[in-house]
Structures are given as C-alpha cells and as structure tokens.
C-alpha cells in the first residue's frame, strides 16, 4: 500500500528535522510506542502497543534511520511483528521551509502480512491515515513544545 502526503508543521525546518531524527522523539511520535532502545547504527528496537478501540495488540520491531541529509531529507524504516502478523513501513521525508513553516512531504510504502492483511483490508486505509495523522499531530506538539 502506497502512502503519500504533505503536512505542514508550524516550526522552522532545522527544528523539525532535529525532531524527526531524534530517536527519543521518534519514540513519542510513533503511536503506541512503549520502548525504544538502540540496536546498532541508526537502528532501534521498539515495543509498540497499537490500539484502535477494541482492536489492540503488542508489536515488537525495529526503527531505522537512513538517507539522512539534514535538514531536508531522511528516511524512516519501521518493521514490526506481533501475533496477528507483521507491518513494515518504509518512507522518505522531504522537508521544505516557507515563512517559518515546514512542509513535510512523505512518500513510502506500507506492507502488512498475516491476519492484518487478510481481514483488515477494509480498515487498512483508514487505519493508516489515522496513524499518520497521529504521527504528525505528535510532531506538531513536539515542535510547539521546543
């Protein structure tokens, strides 16, 4: 499933970039992330609890940062697996600034497997949107708090 979109954050680009590349912040951006620990260069192990009302589950996985070209581009690769299958996201973030605001363009792909893929397809579009919206909402909040 392709994911692409643009979000505007009311903060300068350097700041947004710093947030997006800081593992401690990423842990707060990823919805449901409970734990994030280093596990190699630019790679982190994560524990997540993803909850959509009744549907909830614990995931473990990795977060990897790559293609880091401050302050304009970086790539985030998230893998996760749990009892209902796996969900792997991989996407590039491109940041541009205008009038003190940062536009974040993201483009990537989400691969899900197992139970989530075969029963969740009806809800997948909406769920992905929700997670992304949450991610950027958290980012906005972090930026505001800086």
């Amino acid at each position: 499933m392709k994911l692409e979109g643009t979000q505007t954050i009311s903060a300068p680009r350097e700041g947004v970039y710093r947030l997006l590349s800081d593992p401690a912040v990423i842990a707060r951006l990823l919805p449901g992330c409970e734990k994030l620990e280093p596990a190699g260069p630019d790679t982190y192990e994560v524990k997540m609890k993803l909850g959509l009302a009744a549907l909830s589950g614990s995931y473990q996985g990795t977060v990897k940062l790559s293609e880091q070209r401050p302050p304009e581009h970086l790539r985030l690769t998230v893998t996760s697996r749990g009892p209902w299958g796996f969900a792997d996201g991989d996407g590039g973030f491109t940041l541009s600034e205008q009038g003190g605001q940062t536009t974040v363009h993201y483009a990537g792909e989400l691969k899900v497997g197992g139970m989530v893929a075969s029963i969740g397809s009806r809800l997948l579009d909406g769920a992905a949107r929700m997670v992304i919206a949450q991610f950027f909402k958290n980012l906005e909040r972090e930026a505001a708090a800086e």
Partner: protein, 291 residues
Amino acid sequence: MIPASFEYFAPRSLEEALQLLAHHGTEAKLLAGGHSLLPMMKLRLATPRTLIDLGRIRGLSYIREDGGRISIGAMTTHAEVESSELLRRRAPLLPETAAEIGDVQVRNRGTLGGSLAHADPAADYPAALLALDAECVLTSQKGTRTVVAKDFFVDMLTTALQAGEILTEVRFAADSPRTGSAYRKLHHPASGFAIVGVAARLTLDATGKGSAVSVGITGVAPKPYRATGVERGLLGQTLDAKRIAEASAQATRGVEPLSDLQASARYRAAMAAVFTRRALAAALGRAQKQG
C-alpha cells in the same frame, strides 16, 4: 475461532459496572451484544484482559418517548429497534436503518450501544444518528454527560467515550409533522457492511419548502459525517427531484473517501451522491404523503 483468555465480570447494576470499569481501566472492554467485539476476539485481533458484560444489568434496554423526545437504552437490540411500533410511528428512520444491519441473527444480539461504541466506519446506525441529531448519554462514576452524535464519532473505531465511561442511552427528537426520512445503502457483497449508507430526514413547511434537512453518511470516510453541503443546498428550498439531485452532488464535499477492494474512493464518492439522492427522494415522498 477461539478467543484468548480473559477475566469476566457480569455486574448486576450500572454502578457496579462503572466501578469495575474504573478499576480495570483500559485493559477492560465492555461486552454488550458482542457482535462487534467477539468476532475480533475470536480472530485475536482484540485480546482484552478483562470483559465486563453489561448483559445482566436491568434497565438498559428500553425505547420510550417523553414530551416529543425519544430515548433508547444502549442495550436495546437492533431487532428491538427494527420492530418497535413507537419508533416506526415517531422516528421511522431508525427502524429502517436497523433492518439493514447484518442479518436476522446479528440483529437479535447486536445492540445499539455496542455498535455505536465500536464505531466501525461502515456501520449503519451512525448515519441515522447523525441525521436524527441524536445525543449520546455517557455515564461514568462522575455522573453523566451528553455528546451530540456529530462529536461522538471521533475517528475510525474511535469515539468520544473516555476511560471509565459507558454509553448508556441515545436520545433524539421524534419526527415533527410533515417529516419524511429514509435510509439507503449499498451493501458490501460479503460482509453486508455499508460501502455507502445514507440516512436522510427532512421536514416540509406549509409551502413545501424544506424547513429542516439532515443527511448522515456512513461507510464513505473514516468516520460518519453530516453532509452539510447537501443540507445547505436544500434548506429553505422548494424540494423536488431536480433540486435534490443537484444538492446530492455535494455528498462528499470536504471529505476524503476511503478506498478498499470493493470500492475505490472515486466510486465511493459517486455512490455517496447516488444514494444521497435516493434517500432524499424517498424521504421527500414520505414527507409529502403526510401533507
């Protein structure tokens, strides 16, 4: 096919249920009819640690009218809504919608409150609740608060229910004279959920103009919504087929339709317009019949 283990409570009173809910926090799920929750649990997409069964609490299942306001207890089944003489007379939109949910067996067990609290983006009831301008009564140990339907549905599978709250009742005004309503739905061929579901209610004034028009749409977006663009195009206007068709074109204004295997966003948008028109046309016919 087998749910994971959980701790089970069957409180006998609402107070007891609220207490349990407060105590167990987010690890607990409420069990009403179980027709949203149990399938998810059997697939282990949901694995709540604690289940609080509301089925033993007396007094959560009722349909009554008081001074033009109708109130329905959260544990009222779809079948009870569907067959309620009171509702058929005073707010026929809701029974018409209930009749479109799932199948007979599902309607015999599924409840109004359970369905609303689950907030499936393709559930039928939310469209009707929006069109009825209903209020949801949320009860917690701190007391009750009411949330209008528009604010109750927050996002996909997400409602305004806060930790410790139980949806206990739904209220709305009974139809005033010269009111017509209809629910029209495009069924998902497998699950029966709404690919598009449109609930319309309109009231005509003495001159045949729309004095109140409301349209609730489900299935199209991550959460159900009021088609305000459509409503604005009809309010205060002399209603006829042509005007309804024009207004219905606004059915998805301001929303980004969902896309899945059965229906792309483009098709959903087009069907939202078609079914809005059909629902409104049927509602108009019914309102005129009363005139």
